[in-house]
Amino acid sequence: MNGDPQSAALVFSGVHAGYGVKPVLTGLDLAIGAGEVYALFGPNGAGKSTAARVACGLLEPTRGEVRWPNQGKSGVSLSPQQEALFQNLTVAENLHVIARAAGARRERASIDVARALRLTACETRANELIAVLSGGWRRRASLAAALVGQPSLVVADEPTQGVDVHTRSALANALRAAATEGAACLLISHDARFVEAAADRVGFLLSGRLIKEGKPTALLDEAFGTRRTLAVRFAETPQDMLAKVMREAGFFASADGLTWRRIGDQPFEVARLLADAVNQAGGELIVSRPDLDDLAAALHEERHARDH
């Protein structure tokens, strides 16, 4: 989709925002078009949730401007990080409350609720109390509540926290379906796989401003080309000799020293060379395409190198 401000549902122009004297967003420029799923991706403290609050109109920018060209602020709905539903009400009843609180009459609300249940594939659980649902179904119900009433902008803050692969897929489908019906979706997520599956565009946020944005596949191709990620996982920290060899081969260790990663060419050749040693150390080798986490790490390192 596009970020053309002319057809945008949400526009940030040089937005500065924060809490008290602490600035979190430091000149964020962003435009999300109708029918587009846009993901904000970045480390903790980058300003993703603050951007979500500004997008909802819950937090005023200290500088810059935020606009909702389509329906104004009244067309914004939120799926917060937690379930944010009435526990003693059923899924459908929760959705009815949201619809009617937004001003829909009972008949119109029923239509809106049916649509939201369909988009999130929650029909089979419509009459179950939130309190008795599993975490995954609660996340779906929470997203369904944000899709009630055909909002022009849906802000979904970490919708996949603690969900399984199946639910993640259902949530991605729901956001895609909402976008197909015309909603702009701002997705705040740490979940690289989910963002790749759901988002048309992704923006990398660091220290309160965008450092990169584009289509996920295009950004990955641009950053990594034909290079692949070779990951080695150990149950215990590898011996010094093996660790030294891996460092010389271009691997970086995770903080706990159990996962080593290398992004480069000829991953299978490198894997073949290390196979015996890794096998003896009880480790496993995995070759995969670099993902958005790899890109975020690379961008972070690039920014760090430039700043220092």
Binding site: A84, E93, V97, A101, A102, A145
Partner: protein
């Protein structure tokens, strides 16, 4: 706003244990209070006594001197009517009329209202002791008699129905308002604010819902107390209900304000419990204000509890609608509105910061 109130109502009705505790505990406590304080009086009660001396004799002079030593709060009136007015209005707990008896003796009349048996019993016991000391022996010749003033109902039943109702309305309101902390933390409040296009409908719905629960509690308590209440005219029932509404409003506004000022349940639980207990104690929910020292009786007017109890007593027991009643309603409704406004300002700042 109605949709949110409906959501609260559905959730409330489905939480059966919570429902039972909210609506059944208050009448049980009322019955307990009424039983405890309906027991016979104790001599140590510091009752206020209004008296008049119709005998004007040497014996009555002796009795007056003894009364001055025995009662800290003693006021002399010119006539029986003045004493009766003081007792019925509550300015005095008990009245004493000293009349000339046979020969040099006295006849002593103790005046009390339906619900102040504790104070009346205490005063009667002391006057009997004074009379016995004057006679040089214990006497039981009917020289000390009691007369009940006011409506046929039980003053005490009305008092404790009102006292327990206002106390539980405040407890229920603060506990209900704590749900707002969960809504704030989970993001449900933000979601409802976006759907309703503002914080006012969300907080307004919470205020009205908590008020409705409070009114339901008051109705149940007064229904349980009905056998001991005077027979009520339609206007008294309507005024009692309106009093319940403004008390509920005051409790809800106060609760929303206190809870809005807290960041967590760990803060809200002890703070709200402390405040509600202090208000209940000073306002007369735990012990009648007329039994308190004068300073505390005056401080009591700073609590909504005192206004609530006074308003209910005036319309239900005294069967009057004087200027004190609308004044009480204005005070209570004012607290509700101010509490709501303060809560609104705090919640809006939290929401945007």
């Amino acid at each position: 706003m109605l949709a949110i109130i409906e959501a609260y109502a559905r959730g409330f009705l489905r939480d059966r244990p919570g429902l039972a505790l909210t609506l059944l505990l208050p009448p049980l406590i009322y019955l307990l209070f009424a039983a405890i304080f309906g027991a016979s009086g104790q001599g140590s009660i510091d009752a206020s006594v209004s008296f008049t001396d119709l005998a004007r004799s040497a014996a009555s002079q002796t009795a007056r001197a003894a009364m001055r030593k025995s009662f800290d709060r003693l006021s002399e009136q010119d006539s029986v009517q003045a004493v009766e007015a003081n007792v019925v209005s509550g300015r005095a707990d008990t009245g004493v009329i000293l009349r000339a008896g046979d020969g040099p003796g006295l006849r002593i009349e103790i005046l009390g209202t339906g619900g102040r048996e504790a104070a009346t019993n205490a005063v009667a016991a002391r006057m009997s002791a004074i009379h016995a000391a004057m006679a040089g022996r214990a006497v039981d010749d009917g020289s000390v008699q009691r007369r009940r003033l006011g409506p046929a109902g039980d003053f005490q039943a009305t008092y404790y129905a009102a006292a327990v109702a206002v106390m539980f309305m405040f407890f229920a309101a603060v506990h209900g308002a704590m749900g707002g902390l969960d809504e704030r933390r989970s993001g449900l409040q933000a979601r409802l604010v976006l759907a309703s296009r503002g914080l006012a409908p969300v907080l307004g719905a919470r205020l009205l819902w908590l008020t409705a629960v409070g009114v339901a509690q008051a109705i149940i308590i007064f229904l349980v107390a009905t056998p001991d209440l005077p027979s009520l005219a339609i206007w008294q029932i309507a005024a009692g209900l309106l009093t319940a509404f403004v008390v509920g409003l005051a409790a809800s506004g106060f609760a929303l304000m206190v809870i809005a000022a807290c960041r967590s349940r760990d803060q809200a639980q002890p703070l709200s419990t402390f405040l509600v207990l202090v208000l209940a104690a000073l306002g007369g929910s735990m012990a009648p204000r007329f039994l308190m020292p004068p300073a505390f009786q005056s401080i009591g007017w700073l609590t909504p509890h005192a206004w609530a109890i006074e308003s209910w007593q005036t319309v239900i027991w005294l069967g009057r609608f004087d200027s004190d009643v609308p004044t009480g309603w204005i005070v209570l409704a004012g607290l509700g509105v101010v509490g709501w406004l303060v809560a609104f300002v705090i919640e809006r700042r939290r929401l945007s910061g």
